[in-house]
């Protein structure tokens, strides 16, 4: 690259293994924030510095700095947690956080509202539960996702094991995390070189997901690195290897775009580490380190060409990829309520709106799950759609779980129009520093209004993917929504239309920068046409593409085969 390196590259190189001056920043009582450089480095340790943006102006007038706090995100491959871990995280959220637990679209827990002086005790306590937060954020491989599919229990267990091994393999080797948060003594002269990452880690964040067909809940085409499990006669034989997906864009920068991953080929089960390392190091060496807007793997692949990139990956693996095997997805949502697995265990998927567990008057989500965790003998699975599976319940324990759900008001999560159960929203305001418009806080109002429109057009039971994001970075994977709002300014959004119901077609911009009145009036008209002109049980996203309301966007074939 002839362009100068971005400042973050220098910061990483000079960070002494991601240590920076974090300790000094943590000890500085004059501010609840970290030094700017340390706030950057903190991401690699699994935490973001944020502030309550609702209070910024008020506090400025009060001659007080912004109400800084920290979000801590766990590394939790596949989103599988034990009841003991659940209870520990709940206790931390209650003691140090804002009394909520947030289940993310990447199957992680987030605790919000941690004050600087509580960061270390919180991270230390999380580690005591055998969960860590290393590399949950930052220019590294993030939390590895796995289809929450509990029915295919044997396959899930195998894929989950592969995901954990991969997640561990791609952890940074620096001991900075253990020294700063866990009081590990620094070993003088210890080899801290990063065999996978090198001294400046990756050019940008890197996301990995494992899907188990026929469910594409992980939205595998949105991942930088994807694995699609190939089962033959119920046996896991290997994976199709995918690369180059990504959601994030920048408003007003035409060089940026969402992109679906390419299917590069098939790998054997024993090649997971080698293949992942090959893709990741190819990005490490070829990714753009000058302009962080253009540094995700999707741009690297488009710059090099898919064939050239595949060749590069094969060179790094040391052998050619086999042709991709055939697979087919049915949908990318969750299956709610009780389901029996092939091993006779039961799994209950709970709808959690925006993944936020809190105690409100009608729904005592945090208390309810605490009560269930205290008795539950199976495990929990966070789904990529911000929902929660109470997994591995013996048949005789179902009634007790049901009773606890009723007691805490968690049994009526599926009431209302069908589209509600699929809706996703990112955190956005007031804590996210990137947010341009409301998302999570706006979703309940928006859903009420959309429900009214759908009801008016007789579409109340229609499953439609609605996704709301407070900015174009796309934590709620908005570019895979049949209807999506991407925030531009307070109260104003880009209205995106036309993704499919399986996560294999992007949507397109339909109306730019419009307010709620315009959004609702646009949807009103579209729903009217959909009700009148749809063919069979055609999905809304397919309808707007077929009728040319939006131009056909990037699509992966419904059935991928060799």
């Amino acid at each position: 690259m002839s362009e100068p390196l971005s400042s973050v590259e220098t910061l990483k190189r000079e960070s002494r293994g991601l240590r920076g001056t974090l300790r000094e920043s943590l000890d500085d009582a004059v501010t609840g924030a970290l030094r700017e450089s340390d706030a950057q480095l903190l991401k690699f340790h699994g935490s973001y510095q944020q502030d309550d943006r609702d209070l910024r102006e008020e506090r400025r007038l009060q001659k007080l700095e912004p109400a800084y706090s920290f979000m801590i995100r766990t590394r939790l491959p596949g989103g599988v947690a034990t009841p003991a871990q659940w209870l520990a995280l709940d206790a931390l959220a209650t003691r140090y956080g804002n009394h909520t637990l947030r289940l993310t679209t990447r199957q992680a827990f987030q605790i919000h509202g941690i004050l600087k002086q509580d960061l270390k005790p919180t991270i230390a306590a999380i580690n005591q539960t055998l969960i860590d937060t290393i590399a949950a954020c930052g220019d590294v491989n993030r939390n590895v996702m796995v289809s929450a599919n509990p029915v295919e229990s044997q396959a899930h267990a195998e894929v989950q094991a592969d995901a954990i091994v991969l997640s561990e393999h791609l952890l940074p080797h620096t001991r900075a995390y253990h020294e700063i948060w866990l009081d590990e003594q620094q070993v003088v002269g210890a080899d801290e070189s990063e065999p996978v990452y090198g001294p400046t880690y990756l050019p940008r964040k890197f996301k990995t997901g494992f899907a188990i067909p026929p469910i594409n809940d992980v939205d595998v085409f949105s991942q930088d690195l994807g694995f699609v499990a190939i089962l033959e006669a119920g046996e896991l034989v290997g994976y199709n290897l995918l690369a180059g997906g990504g959601m994030g864009t920048t408003h007003g920068d035409a060089r940026t775009y969402p992109r679906l991953a390419d299917v590069l080929g098939f790998i054997r089960k024993d090649q997971v580490i080698a293949a992942a390392t090959a893709v990741l190091t190819a990005q490490r060496d070829h990714g753009n380190r000058s302009d962080r807007k253009l540094s995700r793997l999707k741009y690297t692949i488009d710059r090099l060409g898919v064939d050239a990139f595949k060749h590069e990956v094969e060179l790094r693996i040391g052998e050619a990829l086999q042709p991709a095997r055939s697979f087919r997805f049915q949908h990318n949502g969750d299956r709610f309520g009780w389901i029996e697995g092939i091993d006779g265990r039961w799994h209950h998927t709970l709808r959690i709106e925006s993944g936020r567990l809190r105690d409100s008057e009608s729904i005592r989500g945090l208390s309810g799950l605490r009560a269930i965790a205290a008795e539950h003998r199976g495990d929990f699975r966070l789904t990529p759609n911000q929902n929660l599976i109470i997994a591995n319940v013996a048949a005789e324990d179902r009634a007790r779980i049901d009773a606890l759900l009723v007691e805490h008001g968690l049994h009526e999560q599926l009431r209302g129009a069908t589209f509600r159960r699929f809706a996703l929203a990112c955190v956005s305001l007031p804590t996210c520093t990137l947010a341009m418009a409301e998302a999570e806080r706006y979703l309940p109002t928006l859903m009420d209004r959309v429900e009214a429109l759908l009801t008016k057009h007789g579409l109340r039971d229609e499953p439609i993917l609605l996704r709301v994001s407070g900015c174009p970075n796309g934590c709620s994977r908005p570019y895979l929504g049949e209807i999506a709002l991407v925030g531009k300014a307070p109260g104003r959004y880009n209205l995106m239309l036309g993704a499919d119901f399986e996560g294999r077609r992007l949507n397109r911009l339909h109306r730019e920068n419009i307010d709620e009145v315009a959004i609702l009036s646009e949807l009103d008209a579209l729903f009217a046409r959909f009700a009148a002109e749809r063919e069979g049980d055609e999905h809304f996203g397919d309808f707007v593409v077929r009728t040319g309301i939006v131009r056909a966007p990037q699509t992966i074939a419904a059935e991928v085969s060799a």
């Binding site: 009582a29 004059v30 501010t31 609840g32 209070l55 008020e58 506090r59 400025r60 007038l61 009060q62 001659k63 007080l64 700095e65 109400a67 004050l115 002086q117």
Partner: protein, 599 residues
Amino acid sequence: MSAQPIFPPLPLLDAERSALLARLTDGLDASALHWISGYAAGLAARGAPALAVVSAKDRDVDVAPTRVTVLYGSQTGNAKREAERLAEALRGEGADVRLVRADAYPTRELADERVLFVVISTQGEGEPPDDARGFVEFVSGRRAPKLEHLQFAVLGLGDSSYPQFNAMGRILDARFEALGAKRLFARGEADVDVATVAAPWLVQAREQVRALKSANAASVVPTAVATASHAAWHKEQPYAAELIVNQRITARESTQDVRHLEIALDPSLAYEPGDALGVKPRNAAAVVERLVARLGWSGHESVRIGDEIRSAHDWLEGHRELTRLHRGFVQQHAVRAKSSVLDALLAADAPAFNDWLTARQVDDVLAEFPAEWAPGEFVAALRPLAPRLYSIASSRKVVGDEAHLAVAVFDAQGPFGVQRGVASGFLADAAAGASVPVYVEANERFRLPQDASRDVIMIGPGTGVAPFRGFVQERSAVGAAGRNWLFFGARHARSQFLYQLEWQAALKAGTLHRLDLAFSRDTAERVYVQQRLREQGREVYTWLDGGAHFYVCGAIAMGKSVHAALRDIVIEHGGRDAEAADDYLNELQRAGRYARDVY
């Protein structure tokens, strides 16, 4: 042309006198030097012949009988003002008056005093004002001389809502007598309405001096304290200032409401950092209305006190204390209420009664012990509404003709509802644009070092930080070379870090050099500023040793804890024993390098 030879300035004094002068002035502090220059100026003004220096012998013979010393110890300026009035009055009688602040008084001269008037206030729980600590210690201690030739009288100033009312006046009055001195007339014990007691006391002093006066009337000798230029605005005639900004500076989750107030001043209202702004409040209309209703009045009743006639409502709203009770009122109320409970309380020991008193406001007593009151009697039984003093939190060099205040709004749950501080409530409820009666109350005991290269250490938790905002502004504006070190504390950093953004900016700009913080409720164990001070003991001592000035502002209890910490620091890091440490701190205080503004 060759260079002009440079001549030394023509010496006004010959070598011998120059040497004498050098010996005389060697080691004297600024106030002593000022005194000497004033003394000399006075001599010159009298047109005295060049050699008319009064010899010790002459003085003994001619001056001693009518020479009078007026000594004062003052914290907020009231005692000083009364002392000045007395000195003025005695000079009017032709007496040779020396007016001197207690810490500028050379205690070794006490044995030779003939006539001494002491005006002294009592602080908090029976403590002397800071400028009189050394004097009181000396008089009370074993080193105090016999005072058989002394005639004296004492005027004490205090606040009868405190249990140790006028303790300092009583202690000195008794001690002088014990040392053999003759009391000229009975001690005066002024309450917050100072003049009621002070004026007749002053008349008595004047009569006594007139009686003592010898035929050879001596002239007035210039005094150590320069006569203050009389400001156009003062306590009795405050300036109607405009409130420009009323901004809460504690976060919404803070139970403590602290306001940053910006007040536009008349340019003639000059102040220095460290001075206080006197605010003349009004009682909240709602409080007055509740009271009037409880008493069954209309509020329009005409009440005459002295020469002033106002409606009962007006008296109560603008001129009478409704938030601070005093014993006299309770006594009168007890008679009317015929309550055995009140009688028992009045008969109880002082601390028990005082606890009861401080927990209540006037309306609480009326609610609990109903009684009939005629408006005139009621108004007369209450004390006049006194102004409240707030440390000014700004420097005129930075804010121009404005004074900034940091005011904690006193709000407490009383036995019969919410109690509000009269002045803090008045200020908190005032909107921008409102008129606030104010005057400047100088605090010469709380001044930045003349020498700007000196370091300063400032201890100011809570609203005690107010004067230090002024200090740092001033030092920044004049480009002071000395370093500034602030200790601040509160309960919670997030919600009560007063002026946080300004301190951060000052640290960045290098106008604040160190900031040590104690947020008592953010940590498992409660940590206060005195603990931070101890932790930094070595460094604090190094600064002091290098000439730093040390300031404390805030609550009395904090002031005591900080003093104890400082004493321990001097013992530990200064290698002194306890007595030497006390001497060291007394010397710092005397030299104006250890100043306290506690309340």
